[in-house]
Symmetry: C2
């Protein structure tokens, strides 16, 4: 196995394990200080190794966005999983039932149709399925819109023999935690008033991680990207570039003009995610270089503002705009400490689309 990153073929993904450890510890310490339970979202790393480490450090379980990811994590011995998704379709509900037999599981619903599916699948289950109602607190994605709707669904869950009403789940919009808190509080209030107080209130998102304790009614927080951070999270002030644990190692394969470099990392390595940022990532050591364009296998860098210009054949490390989908593009990632490669990990939950 290569012992130094210079021996790796490019493009590839490097995960700085020292930064991972610091990011996990810092966040767990913060959560502990505020009596908030952490349930990390594994979509960012998709690695059983890190899911176990998160639990070892104090997380009460993990969050998976897809059933297929949860199955991988259950296979790897993770015992407590939240699946904050409307699981629909006969085959998926069958898989969900099997998953519930081997891990402590909770799911979400934002419609009667979803609840009816769960109820059918768990009608004769030995243990009921714990179901949270998903609330739209401003994200504009899934979730009930009003306290009345939240209550109606909670009552429907409560009335289903195979189900138990567990609480509320939301994914608040980045940068608007106060507004989201107000909506969530109204939903929770309606449930309490109706005699169905939520046991679990789960919120999440790395961008507003350091304000998590201000959502006082929340019992759990589901950050994902905090383990690696990325250019977007740095822009949001969650950490610094020196905290970013995931980088894409790439080679300059062309220097066609004095001001242009082309690297062997394109959208198939960095993704096209911009997240409102300008440019497709940050070149470490070349702060004034701008990744202006990506095609699938090429990244084009404008060096006109950069005094130093990388040479052809030089290797660069790119902090991507968004770390999570990068993990999904690589079968394997390399764990590094500085420039030393300590292990190569298969991204076990990569590509679990369903």
């Amino acid at each position: 196995m290569p012992a130094h990153i210079d021996q790796l073929e490019t493009p590839t993904v490097l995960i700085d394990v020292d930064r991972v450890e610091a990011n996990l510890t810092r966040t767990q310490t913060y959560a502990d200080a505020h009596g908030l339970k952490l349930r990390p979202h594994i979509k960012t790393h998709k690695l059983p190794r890190f899911a176990h480490r998160q639990v070892e450090l104090g997380a009460i379980g993990i969050t998976c966005q897809k059933l297929g990811e949860a199955e991988v994590m259950a296979d790897a011995g993770i015992e407590d999983i939240l699946l904050p998704y409307n699981i629909m379709g006969a085959e998926k509900l069958h898989r969900l039932r099997r998953l519930a037999d081997r891990v402590t599981l909770a799911v979400t619903a934002d419609s009667l149709a979803t609840i009816e599916g769960y109820a059918r699948a768990f009608a004769n289950a030995t243990a009921p399925l714990r179901v949270l109602v998903e609330c739209d607190t401003g994200m504009g994605r899934c979730g009930v819109q009003t306290p009345d709707e939240a209550l109606a669904l909670a009552q429907a869950i409560d009335a289903s023999p195979g189900l138990v009403f567990e609480g509320l789940m939301t994914y608040p919009p980045a940068g608007a935690p106060a507004a989201a808190r107000a909506v969530l509080a109204a939903m929770a209030g309606a449930l309490r008033d109706a005699g169905l107080p939520p046991t679990m209130i789960s919120t999440g998102g790395t961008p507003d991680l350091w304000a998590a304790h201000e959502t006082r009614i929340a019992t759990e927080y589901r950050p994902g990207t905090y383990i690696y951070l990325d250019r977007y999270q740095v822009a949001k002030g969650v950490g610094t570039l020196d905290d970013c644990a995931l980088t894409v190692l790439t080679t300059v394969v062309s220097r066609p003009t004095p001001d242009r470099a082309v690297i062997d990392a394109g959208s198939k390595a960095l993704t096209s995610d911009l997240l409102g940022l300008s440019g497709h990532g940050l070149v470490m050591g070349y702060p004034d270089a701008v990744i202006t364009g990506l095609s699938e296998e090429h990244g084009t860098i404008d060096l006109s503002a950069s005094e130093r210009k990388p040479a052809i054949g030089e290797r660069l490390r790119i902090v991507p705009n968004h770390a999570c989908p990068v993990s999904n593009l690589f079968d394997r990632v390399h764990l590094v400490s500085g420039e030393h490669v300590s292990a190569t990990e298969t991204v076990a939950a990569r590509g679990r689309v369903d």
Copy 2:
């Protein structure tokens, strides 16, 4: 195996084999009529089955953008491969040498550094490596900028014992074939004048496919997306929506408001590629529905302009903006004829990043 698309779990990828056959045949017929050799780019499908079909129909070989893709295709029995990329690094050059032992191979270079790498790797090879000079004809990515540079590299290749100068390669910018032709002609002219006439002149791109015959000096054309087409190619006029062979099958998992639907296909299924389009794909049967946002596992659809509104649990088929990176996100795709599933194929060259 499921026999009908209704039995498939979502999200997943459907490939309409009748449309594939029509797209391949139409393009091969066009190329044959103009005496142009086709060398399809397999990045779009990444499937040995379709690479073989392309060759059966008359393609003279295939194009792969990455060494890893070429290795998969060589394993599958494809015998003639163009790798239009600067292959750099000791391990990759070693792999390139091994690949050249089992297929008819050509590569490209746009710098002395790349040529020197090839020359070292093939110094004592029994058969020389065929090298084309990559030209920048307006794309602004890799490639030499002037006829003088093209000539200097051709001479360097010609002077290297293990290499043979084969010709010119370009990827012209979409929508500007005439300007690209002029640049390419100037490069080729300089080489002919210097006694190094290019044997092979390779150009490509599906957007300008139907103007391919107008580049009279080109000997080969490398279209990729023509096999599936997609929303971008339809916008460019290459075909119609009824020609699009790749769709993402997805389920409406939430209808949180009268005008909003959320599907289980997000950027992990559709990619974030916009390619200058508005919206993240086209919903078949709902021409006025707009996919306004994607997160990794959710797609948000605005139905305010759509008279018909899909119900929760309904399955939708999405024509993506860009088909090629979608192929790279799925381990398997389903071949369909109408709504009948005829086969499930492993995307053998998926994720071959290096």
